[in-house]
Subunit: 220 residues, 2 copies
């Protein structure tokens, strides 16, 4: 990947649209790997997912892999390259705050390790939940969050508390030295510079759907 230095261009940050497409390639590639295929072309991926082949090639280029004419990309290598690029090969320990219905669902979802995430502890302010474990992850009191985050050098915090409690949860996570927050609460978190926030707000996705549907229906 140092090969890109030959042009001496300044390294540009990966576009977010590209980052969002990479997992989709990954899902398809893993499926293809099962079928025994050895290589795949950008043309094929594009047709399968409804993208433009050039776009697929450009996206793949960011991960640092090179293909070969006529055959395309080696599937195993490409999977590895994307996972490496997204840092999904190093499993990162994470805290989850708010063990309600969504938080519980996430703790129960065994596949996050495939995406580089490992929940080592969950936190809640509900006395009934503290001390129990949810799918093998212990639920601890909020009082323990800051110290434990510091001690364990946790980098990622997931927020699944109600909106009114989200900012406070974020503040605690940041006090504990967290670097990145995956926020599911429908609220804009205020964080100091250097702390990453990714909003996984379902309402954003839903807005696209409902607006387009209303638009489509109105054209009937």
């Amino acid at each position: 990947m140092t090969k890109t230095e030959k042009t001496n261009k300044k390294i540009k940050a990966t576009p977010e649209p590209t980052l969002r497409r990479l997992p989709r390639y990954l899902h398809l590639l893993k499926f293809l790997r099962e079928t025994g295929d050895k290589s795949v072309s950008s043309t094929y991926i594009a047709k399968e997912l409804g993208f433009d082949p050039t776009q697929v090639r450009k996206d793949i280029e960011y991960t640092g892999i090179v293909g070969r004419p006529k055959t395309g990309f080696n599937i195993v290598e490409l999977i590895s390259s994307i996972e490496e690029f997204l840092n999904w090969k190093n499993i990162t320990d994470a805290f989850l705050v708010g063990t309600g219905s969504l938080g519980t669902a996430m703790l129960g979802y065994g596949r996050f390790k495939d995406y580089g995430l490992n929940f080592v502890a969950a936190f809640d302010n509900n006395e009934m939940k503290i001390g129990k474990t949810i799918h093998e992850t212990p639920v601890l009191s909020m009082e323990k969050l800051v110290d434990l985050a510091k001690r364990m050098h946790i980098n990622i915090g997931v927020i699944t508390v109600p909106a009114f409690a989200a900012q406070h949860s974020a503040d605690l996570l940041i006090e504990g030295g967290i670097r990145a927050i995956w926020n599911f609460a429908p609220i804009h978190l205020k964080v100091p510079e250097g702390v990453l926030v990714e909003n996984a707000q379902l309402t954003q996705s839903l807005a696209v759907l409902t607006h387009k549907l209303a638009d489509a229906i109105s054209k009937d």
Copy 2:
């Protein structure tokens, strides 16, 4: 014919980035409404959410409302305008397929009505779940899906089954006449033209976070 149609159509489709930002404005606006404020400027919204003021104005323009110099936009009107635009004022009946941990969490989330969505029935192939209700939504057998969707004229289907079952679920929903699918399974659904698919894949959001975090840490 199509040419004149095109030139006559002055209404351009709303950019997806705009659609995704609108719910974020909405959350802030509802908060401001509680505080008793009557109006808000694009400048304020932008500063609060970290956007550009012009972008906020352009986004708002799509919803059809006009502001006034010096004061900005009437908060109540603006909320109404956005909700109308996203079609969140007309509650749309929806089916949910797959009552596992994520599906259950969604059925239990009482706020989807605020976003125009009402789950009238859920479906699963697990005999243990059929016949029960989850947060007042009945869980029915998959056999009943197609007919019931037709009879009730359901437009939206939510897929929360494992990846391997997602395409089949989508096929049934489409057979039942559904127009839009909100897909949570990590797979690309193949659907006929005219059927909308919105992927709410958490992994896409997570990819952005993990890549940026790795990037930031590597720069320390």
